[in-house]
Structure formats: C-alpha cells, structure tokens
Amino acid sequence: MTEGAIATVSTIAGSWVSETIPIAGVAVRVTRAGVGPPLLVLHHDIGTLERLPFYEALARRFTVLVPSHPGYDGSQRPDWMRNVRDVAAVHQWLLGEIAVTRDAGAVSVVGLGFGGWIAAEMATQAPRAFRRLVLVGAMGFKPDRGEIADQALVSYIDYVRLGFADQRAFDRLFGAEPATSQLEHWDLNREMTFRIAWKPYMYNPTLPHLLGGVATPTVVVWGRDDRIVPLECGERFAKALPRARLEVVEGAGHFVEMEKPDELAQLVTDFVSQGEA
C-alpha cells in the first residue's frame, strides 16, 4: 500500500480504516476502528489476520489501533532495523503522529506475545506514558527453567499450531491446510523476526533490569497451555513490574486472543476501563 493511502472495510463493529504513516523512513501501516479511549494492540511474531473477533470486541469500547510492525504482514521492511527496541521506538514515534494517541497518558497498550515484548520495551523507554498495559504471553524474558520455542526448527504451520491449545481453533482461523500465500506471509514475518530477534533469541537480557521503573498499572495474561513462552516468564514479568498482577487463562495456549477472544477482550476492557471518569 502506498504512503497515505486509506482503505475502508465495514464490519459489525463499524468501519475499519487503514492508513500508512511515514516513520523513520518506512511506511508504517495502521488499521483502526471503534470509538472511545485509544488502545494500541501490538501483534505477534507471526503477524495478524486482518480482522479478529478479539479486535471487534475491543472496538465496541475503544478506538483500537493495530499497526503492522515494520517489515511484517507485507509492510515495508526497514533494512536498518536490528532489534526489538528499534520496533518499540518506531511505535512510540507513531503514537506522536496520530491525533488520538498524541496525549501522553491517554493511551493503553495490549501486547500479544512478541508484541508484548515490544510493549514492555516501550514502557521502559517511557515509564509514565501509558494509562494501562496488558502483556499477553509476552516474549522478552529469558526463562529460568524452560525455553522459548525455537521456530527456526519447525515449519510455519507447526509453529503456529504449537501456539494453540485447541487445534480446532487453528483450523477455523487458517484452515486445516493453510494456503501457500499464507505460508509465504508467515515466512516473510519469520524472516523479519530473525532480522531483529535472532540472538539472543526472543529475549533481551537487559529488559528485566529496566522494568522496575515502569509506573503503568499492568496485567500480565498467560494461557495456561502456552507451549511457546513458558508461564514462568509471566510470573517473572509480574514480579519485575512494580504495579502488575498475573492472570492465567485456562484452556488457552500462546495465542490467547485467537482461542479465547471474548474472555481476553472482557479482561482487557475491565482492566483498562478501571478508574475511568
């Protein structure tokens, strides 16, 4: 999509609008819908489907903004980008370019998996910038006991399936045998992940030391059956962040928003709406 282009798609929750905004020399694509306080949703390393019931549910209460991380989901690849903090800085910059997110303290952030790591990095860069923070199955911490699953060793399909506790949810969303175009899409996203998170793989050893300054109230959400990022990482996030608690979702794997969309949307809505005027 060219810079500044806008596309509109109608859905039950209203219109989804997509636009591209030039940030750091690349066109960053943002999709948005809904009305209400601004809520930034950061997607997984596998990218995101354009529409998800989870997004629709949030759009009933919030102005939901879903940017594509640079280089993901067909967006322009920044060749210079080398780590997850670079992505975090791009999203910080992006928030300043959008009217509804420009006011410091107004925006809440939901980070999903890899997006949770980006959200945590954003919070350390600007410890008082966000209203509420929700980290779901976030990467970023080196586990003490287990390991973060290495996608380099498994096929695209097997990796995504690993993130579901219930394979029927995968089949519903992607089909039992995803199309080649979907595989290419996952391959491009995987390549971008390798470019910015190859070594150390999927964590930042300095992140735990910097979370102590984050003043934002946070809920850390984990699928009980997350086979990609072990639950112990959730426990460690909740401990390292001064104002955080851990919520475990039963019957969900790593992709909580795709397996338990209503439950997660309710949890986010309740938490983010707390203390609203």
Binding site: A152, L153, V154, I157, F194, R195
Partner: protein, 422 residues
C-alpha cells in the same frame, strides 16, 4: 585440465536405525551416536586417501566442511588443509570452501588461510561458500543476513590479504578497529578464489562479476549448461569472455575393477537415504531469509512437505542423467567425455566414494582413476581446449587482473604495491 580428488568424509559408522527412528540424520540428530574411535580411524584413512591421490597424479585435493551431520565429518576445512599443506608436496589444496557467514571474525580466517598458503608453499586455492541452511542453525548464525555477511567477509578478507595494514573496518556486520594480521599469503596478488554452488542464481552472478571460477556441485548436465549460459552472459556484460577456465564441476564418479562392483559401491552415494545432506526437516535447509526471495513460494511449499526436494532423485535416474557415473575406467571415460564435451569445464572434481565403501575399495578407485582415467581426460582436455586457470594463466579476479604467483617467484618487489579493491 585441473583434476581434483574429493570426499565428503562420511561418518558411516553411526547407527542407521537410530537415524531412521529419529527421522533425521542432520542438525538435531544427537551426537551421542558419534563414535570417536571410528572417527579417529576414518580421519586417518581419509588422510591416507588424500596422499594416495597425490601419488597417483591428481592435481588438487578438494576440501569442504559441514556441521552436525554424519554425511560429512569434516567440521573445519582449514584443519585438513593445514595437515595437507605439510604432508603433501605438489597438489593444490582447494578449499570449497570456507563458509564465510559463519565467521564471526573474517580477519582470523584471512590469517589462517595465509598460514596454509605459506606452509604449502603457495598451493592454496581459497574458495568461499555461504554454507547450507543447516550450517547457519548449527552455528547460531542469522540466516537472514547470510548473503550480506558472505559478501562483506569476502571483501574484508581480500583487503586484509592485499592492502598493507593497519587499517580500520567499520562494516555492516563486521567491525574491526585494527586490521593488521602479521601473516599474509605467499601467493600474490592473493590465492585464487573459486566459488562452488548448487542452486542460487545470485551466487553464479556474483562469481561471474568477480571473475571467479564457479564450481557446479553435481548438477545435472542440462542444469549445468544453464549455469554456464548465465555465467557467460554476466561475464560478457562485465567485460570478459567466459570459458573453460571459469568452469568447474564436481562429479560423483566411482571406478572399480568390475562393473558390478562399481555399481554396488556407487549405490553408497545414496547412503544418507535422502538427498546428499541426509534426512532432515526441510525447514532446516531453508531457514527464512536464507534462500532466494525469487523462489519463495517453492521453498515454503518444500518447507512444509508439499513439494519434494528439487535436488533429490532416485539412484537409477542419477545414473541415467550422469549425476552419478560408475563403472570400470573403460566405461566411465566415454561418459566423462560427454560431460566435458557438453559442459566444457576445465576444473573437474572427482567425488570418488561415499558411505560404507571400504577403505580398500576407495584406494582401488583412486588408483584406477589416477592410472587410467586421468591420463585419458588430460588428452580429451587438450583436444577440447579445456585449459585450467593455471594453464591459461587467467587473472585472479576483476579487481586483480593478473595470475597468482608465489611472492618469491614474482619480480620485482617483495612488498608489492597494493591494488585497490573495487
């Protein structure tokens, strides 16, 4: 012609049933199945075979390296190159090659190669490779930057070889505040660089632009012709004429006293049960970012098992297509003549045995090749005008348009003026 001996250095002494049960014989197949006693015996047998190859008349010994797999137990070609530098007298030591992207410190590689060149008295041919996909995973190197690292490391090594230090290198993937290796190669302007490959168009184009000979690794004759078509086209665009001195080929070729014996042993070229790199999860050989973006859809389908390996085919088919040649000297020579006539390489590597072929049979094969096949091929080479880079005295590269010569044989300066690397 330049005729080389090659072996993958197979580690046949591993429990095959364990490999089948695990479903893979590479990368994640546990090294608990490596037998160091067999390894010690095999390494020494391979050294014996190399020395025999020199004795029976081969011009070069070709070495390579791989990681985490029994199909090749040579984990660092510079180690065997060092041994051969001291224990052989005449043969070229042809590394095809050092996998540059795996190097965290290319300057160190430049030093090692300079030492090998000096110890061997100027017999080094220093090929460079990108390394297979599995190699990136086995060494923890980012596959997404494979080609960038290959090109930058190459540039740094050539500069370290040819430009007096100290200098500073602030690259994209390598940063060295002081580059000043004390050891530099004996051959000036620098040892010859040959580039082997299987598949990637990008590598063929890159080699042709540099004017480096390209060594096609056991590709089918028709595919090989396409490689030379592309190479020659890029050569013409670059300003020189391609030809035999820029063409190399690695031929799987087993020779024995009888046809039956040769065919039986040649089946061992298939011993890894899959493609030549063994059974593996397809995604290991094609990690994201490693393969050419122009064929992404084919690779993603291969990676999930929807497409068979474009490189693998049955033994009988490979015999028919001459990807494997086997027989007595009398029957293999016409087949090799066909290869030479149709694809016109001047550099020919003989991958002579694999798998469980006994040391005795391997030695017979080397001896028969040396005594009967190589002399015939030299005559055919003359007849067809297949002059090797050494015979043709061809330039080392576009950047260094002169032949490689040991420093002491090269008039007049001991410390030649450095030439600019473009």
């Amino acid at each position: 012609m330049h005729l080389m001996y090659f072996t993958e250095q197979p580690m046949s002494a591993y429990p095959e049933d364990e490999g089948r049960a695990f479903g893979a014989t590479a990368l994640m197949f546990s090294n608990r199945y490596f037998d160091p006693a067999a390894g010690s015996r095999l390494y020494n047998e391979y050294l014996e075979h190399y020395r025999l190859a020199e004795a029976v008349g081969f011009d070069g010994i070709m070495l390579n390296e791989h990681h985490n797999a029994p199909f090749c137990m040579q984990a660092k070609c510079n180690i065997f190159a060092s041994i051969l530098a001291a224990t052989t007298k005449r043969v070229k030591i042809v590394l095809l090659g050092n996998p540059l992207p795996l190097a965290e410190n290319p300057v160190r590689l430049a030093e090692e190669l300079a030492m090998i060149d000096m110890v061997s008295r100027g017999r080094l041919v220093s090929g460079f490779v990108r390394g297979g996909g599995q190699e990136q995973l086995a060494t923890g190197v980012n596959p997404a930057f494979n080609r960038e690292r290959f090109e930058e490391a190459h540039e740094l090594i050539v500069k370290a070889w040819t430009q007096p230090g100290p200098f500073r290198w602030e690259g994209t993937h390598y940063q060295h505040r002081v580059v000043n290796p004390w050891a530099v190669p004996l051959q000036k302007p620098h040892p010859r660089v040959w580039i082997p490959g299987v598949l990637s168009k990008e590598t063929i184009v890159w080699a042709a632009k540099k004017r480096y000979p390209y060594i096609a690794l056991s590709t089918a004759i028709e595919a090989t012709k396409k490689i030379w078509e592309l190479y020659d086209q890029v050569a013409a665009e670059t300003g020189y004429a391609g030809g035999p001195e820029y063409r190399g080929y690695l031929q799987r070729c087993h020779v024995a006293e009888t046809e039956e014996k040769a065919m039986e042993n040649a089946r061992q070229f298939m011993w890894m049960q899959g493609e030549f790199t063994g059974l593996a999860h397809p995604v290991w050989s094609t990690p994201s970012g490693y393969f050419s973006p122009s064929i992404r859809s084919a690779f993603v389908e291969y990676a999930v098992g929807r497409r068979s390996n474009p490189r693998g085919s049955a033994f009988e088919d490979q015999i028919k297509s001459q990807m494997i040649v086997a027989g007595t000297p009398k029957t293999v020579i016409p087949k090799l003549r066909r290869l030479l006539e149709e694809t016109r390489p001047s550099i020919l590597g003989f991958w002579a045995a694999d798998g469980f072929v006994s040391s005795a049979d391997t030695k017979t094969c080397i001896r028969l090749l040396g005594e009967e096949v190589l002399p015939a091929l030299r005559e055919i080479g003359k007849e067809l005008g297949l002059w090797s880079p050494f015979e043709a005295n061809s330039p080392v590269s576009m950047a260094f348009p002169e032949s490689a010569t040991p420093a002491h044989e090269r008039a007049p300066a001991r410390h030649p003026t450095p030439l600019q690397v473009s």
